[in-house]
Symmetry: C2
């Protein structure tokens, strides 16, 4: 068989691993602003679009790669300071965050139909807490944050940890994310990657990263779940 | 000849028509936030990415198309009120605006080398004033704002007005913009459209809209001006 990816077999179970920011919560643009402000405090000037293209990566990579692009070398304490600044700026905006259309409905549908899912985010628990609360994520849903994996995306460690936590094979998982880094991580882990446009990446970028399918947002994914082997 | 677009002939003059927001000034993400807040005041909830994809269009189209997407019908007074709200929110951020890398250097190079250019923006003069000042645009550079054209982009009226103002044929002009709407307007006007990535659109989106070339930002365009017939 040429394509090693396959939808779960009849009788097998689809398992979903969701990214959080930009996938279920409309927070990418607030993250861009928070990073711009954090870099600004360190006198590192970056265009917004360059920051946007890195969102979804681990904080360490965001700081190191963007500083390098701007011609700065940052030390490990600098990285830590900028992570803190970013969290501080981001949490100021937390009151303005909203779920993406269909996010709660999608998760409710999966729960009701006994389709297992987990959340795997490059974010820290501190930064993710409000979003998880808005989504109504209970203790029955595994949540893997940056603290529980050796590396953030595009390293597949987060998704591998989520699959392990659920006792499923990663190659039976469908990773849903808005960023190129989610899709690349899914591919390295041999999971199917499904892209969502609601983080601001273009359809072509997600397909070029290897997305199996691309939908607009969680509402559009919910409409088309049959395509991914979840039949009504 | 199959391709009716052509670089200016030897001896002819390249003429540049620049978009402003997202092309010379790093303001697209601030516009997204300002529109989100303006729509929010009217109780219209929109995802950030949907707003981002409309930036560059005229205010009227942004309000009408996005309201429609969100399932609202807006009246003409509503459009006017939301334009005002957006301007108010945007101007609060005006202190945080920065030029995009190479913007001033590019315009200085063109001036020094007697390559004529104009600015053509869907924005109002009130909203564009700070940006024009940062760029050091003098009275010798034609600036066409929304007030001087019957329609905003993707209608070509702004670019046609700019060419008329300069006494040049629109088909001898090179339109430089960051949004799909700039490139589509250029194409309708039979000008060459050059895309810049610094407004957050993907390369593929700009090429698909018909871009002749795509560069990262004004600095990258300046590096590659020879490709567009401006020889050093």
């Amino acid at each position: 068989m040429e394509n090693e990816h396959r939808p779960p077999e009849a009788g097998g179970k689809a398992v979903f691993l969701f990214d959080l920011d930009g996938t279920l919560v409309d927070s990418v643009y607030q993250h861009v602003t928070a990073w711009r402000n954090a870099f600004g405090k360190m006198n590192i000037k970056l265009s917004n679009w360059r920051i946007h293209k890195r969102i979804g990566m681990s904080d360490e990579l965001i700081v190191r790669l963007l500083s390098h692009e701007a011609g700065h070398l940052v030390s490990i304490p600098d990285v830590e300071m900028m992570r803190k600044l970013h969290t501080e700026f981001f949490l100021r905006e937390a009151g303005n965050l909203r779920l993406l259309p269909g996010a709660r409905e999608l998760l409710t549908f999966l729960s009701t139909n006994s389709v297992p899912y987990a959340i795997a985010t490059s974010s820290s628990m501190e930064r993710a807490a409000d979003s998880l609360k808005m989504l109504g994520i209970g203790s029955d849903v595994p949540v893997i944050t940056r603290e529980q994996a050796s590396h953030g995306k595009p390293d597949p460690a987060l998704f591998l940890a989520a699959a392990r936590n659920m006792g499923v094979d990663i190659s039976d998982c469908i990773v849903v994310g808005d960023s190129v880094w989610d899709i690349l991580a899914a591919r390295r882990a041999k999971a199917l990657g499904v892209g969502l446009l609601c983080g601001g990446y273009a359809e072509e970028e997600l397909f070029r990263a290897g997305a199996y399918r691309v939908y607009e947002d969680p509402a559009d994914l919910l409409e088309n779940l049959d395509e991914l082997g979840v039949y009504r």
